[in-house]
């Protein structure tokens, strides 16, 4: 079997007495459309925060394309090819989408310390930012202050900004959370249209989106992986049904 693009080995995270991540060994294959699901409080976001370096694991190892990144800073992981979106929008609210995308592109190209260069000095990056905005259906809002964008547009920008870093691994943390029905379809199409060579880990509550999108599903309950496999097998798994439908099932 070929090496996974992202892998955790025996990952453990304790917050005091709470075991938020319990010995999770997880593999994300190259080009995967992988979903991580689980009921509220299952530790999904804590797991993602460890992958991206926001939270340090208590034990275990994280490997990105074979390289141990357990102790790397978040910005270093971005440069190594892994970027993420946030469950709750984390945007540069006073910027425009064009500026926010230019920031990501500039950092990707190592231009962040250029203090005497102009923002439009690299015209190709400006054009790339505009093209990414178009790809994520933001081209009519490219010069609008982000804080005034509709919630759905802001969710689209969340993904666009993560995508602009040109990641090989993209972590989508509940991209559809709270998006109103009218703007939902745009967002689902965007997720479906992500390029195939980007390996995607989707953390999601929305089963509709998960089963439409994922070719592999991992189920996390109380910090523990209780099932991992193809969507059909997961849907039929009694332990998963028990976790989602409550005890009393024939688990």
């Amino acid at each position: 079997m070929n090496a996974p693009v992202l892998e955790t080995i025996g990952l453990v995270k304790r917050f005091g007495g709470l075991l938020a991540t319990n010995n999770v060994s997880f593999r994300l294959e190259r080009g995967a459309r992988h979903a991580l699901i689980g009921p509220n409080g299952a530790g999904k976001t804590t797991f993602v925060n460890q992958l991206t370096g926001v939270v340090k694991p208590t034990e275990g190892q994280i490997r990105l394309e074979g390289r141990d990144i357990t102790g790397s800073r978040p910005e270093a992981r971005v440069r190594l090819g892994m970027s993420r979106t946030f469950q709750i929008n984390q945007l540069f609210r006073t910027m425009t989408p064009l500026e926010m995308l230019l920031l990501v592109l500039g950092e990707r190209e190592g231009r962040g310390l250029r203090f005497w260069s102009r923002l439009d000095a690299r015209g190709d990056l400006v054009d790339e930012a505009a093209a990414i905005a178009a790809r994520f259906r933001l081209d009519d809002a490219i010069d609008t202050t982000i804080a005034t964008l509709s919630y759905g547009k802001q969710r689209q920008l969340e993904i666009a900004a993560a995508f602009a870093a040109r990641p090989r691994v993209l972590l989508l943390d509940e991209p559809a959370a709270g998006v109103p029905e009218a703007e939902r379809q745009d967002l689902l199409n965007i997720v479906a249209d992500l390029p195939e060579d980007v390996s995607v880990l989707l953390i999601e509550h929305d089963m509709d989106l998960v089963f439409r999108f994922a070719t592999r599903i991992t189920v996390l309950v109380n910090g523990t992986v209780i099932a991992d496999g193809e969507p059909a097998a997961i849907a039929a798994d009694p332990a998963v049904r028990a976790a989602y439908l409550g005890e009393g099932e024939d688990a």
Partner: protein, 360 residues
């Protein structure tokens, strides 16, 4: 704004290491791209900016007897510009910015007394001295909340004040540095009693440093500072090395404050403990609250309004002017937030729009 028409092949994210997608974008070689035009328009000089600097240059002709006040305004404006770099752009609050003003002033004063009376050399020394302190103390503001930053910056300023107070052999203690003389600027312009050279010298320094700040804040580096201010979590998730940027901008702002201190020492030919006083830092916050942060002109316009207000009020009630300044602060910051602040903010935004800024 349709960069990519439906038929345009969109750039797929290629495997890292290749930069293949420039070729797939429609109008890459042209200059007609609307996004490029947007950015060019945004950084272009606005008519109001020319007006502002033109007025500053011509002000001595209109009010020849107020040039000492204008000099104070220019220096306060530079000092406020310095705080705006860290507060308005990088989002670092400080109640101790006077530490850098003071170190710059003492450095310029001591340099003039002991080494050379050349003003420009002294100014460089003041900036270097302040930036050394800025660099060292920047590591203290990297962590913690706004409240810890307020306390830490305040603490550094208090330490500097006590150091200057105690180290009499160097600073003259409470007597200050006296007998400073400064050579003519560029060997040509003598400092006169009316303050004409002083003002034009300070204005020239302010203008040059403002141009540099405008350029730097419009650069990728400046954009990354705004990213830090807006959302640190996302900034680091976008690849911005947070700590490095903060150290750099804090050091830069300290150098700017040092220049303001140097100008103060050179144009008043006197340095006392007053340059390190707490009220210097507190007034500066007020200046930026009046003028607004994050658009560079806020500190300058705030300095004009603050000094004029202080001048008028202190002429009317010499003993109680600080009461009125305090009242202004209270009203501005909290009391009339619904009334004063909203009209103020609307006005500021309109002025800011004239200057091409979008935040106030």
């Amino acid at each position: 704004m349709n960069m990519a028409s439906p038929t345009t092949p969109l750039p797929a994210a290629p495997v890292a290491g290749t930069a293949a997608n420039a070729a797939t974008i429609v109008n890459a070689p042209g200059t007609a791209s609307p996004a490029r035009a947007l950015l060019r328009r945004r950084r272009a000089w606005k008519p109001a900016e020319f007006l502002f600097w033109g007025a500053a240059l011509l002000a001595p002709l209109a009010l020849p007897r107020s040039m000492l006040l204008m000099n104070e305004i220019a220096i306060l404006g530079l000092f406020a510009l310095s705080l705006d770099l860290i507060l308005g752009y990088a989002g670092i609050v400080s109640l101790g910015h006077a530490a850098f003003l003071g170190v710059g002033a003492y450095a310029a004063g001591l340099f003039a007394l002991n080494v050379s009376a050349d003003p420009l050399a002294g100014l460089v020394v003041a900036m270097l001295a302040a930036s050394v302190l800025g660099f060292l103390s920047s590591f203290l503001v990297l962590r913690g909340t706004d409240l810890t930053r307020l306390m830490v910056t305040l603490g550094v300023a208090l330490l500097m004040f006590e150091a200057a107070n105690s180290w009499r052999s160097l600073t003259g203690g409470a007597d200050g540095l006296q007998g400073i003389t400064i050579d003519p600027v560029l060997g040509l312009f003598d400092f006169d009693l009316k303050g004409r050279t002083a003002y034009l010298y300070s204005l020239a320094v302010l203008f040059v440093l403002f141009l540099a700040a405008r350029r730097m804040m419009g650069s990728p580096f400046g954009l990354s500072l705004r990213a830090l201010r807006d959302n640190r979590l996302r900034a680091s998730a976008s690849g911005v090395g947070v700590n490095g940027r903060l150290v750099l901008v804090y050091t830069l702002a300290a150098a700017y404050a040092g220049a303001a201190g140097g100008l103060l020492a050179q144009t008043t030919q006197f340095v006392s403990l007053d340059v390190l006083e707490f009220h210097r830092s507190a007034d500066l916050m007020l200046v930026l609250i009046i003028g607004g942060t994050g658009w560079l002109y806020g500190g300058l316009i705030g300095a004009v309004l603050f000094e004029l207000f202080q001048d008028v009020v202190s002429a009317a009630t010499p003993q109680y002017w600080q009461f009125w300044v305090g009242l202004l602060l209270v009203v501005f910051v909290s009391g009339g937030r619904e009334a004063v602040h909203k009209t103020g903010a609307a006005l500021r935004q309109r002025v800011a729009a004239l200057f091409g800024g979008r935040r106030a």
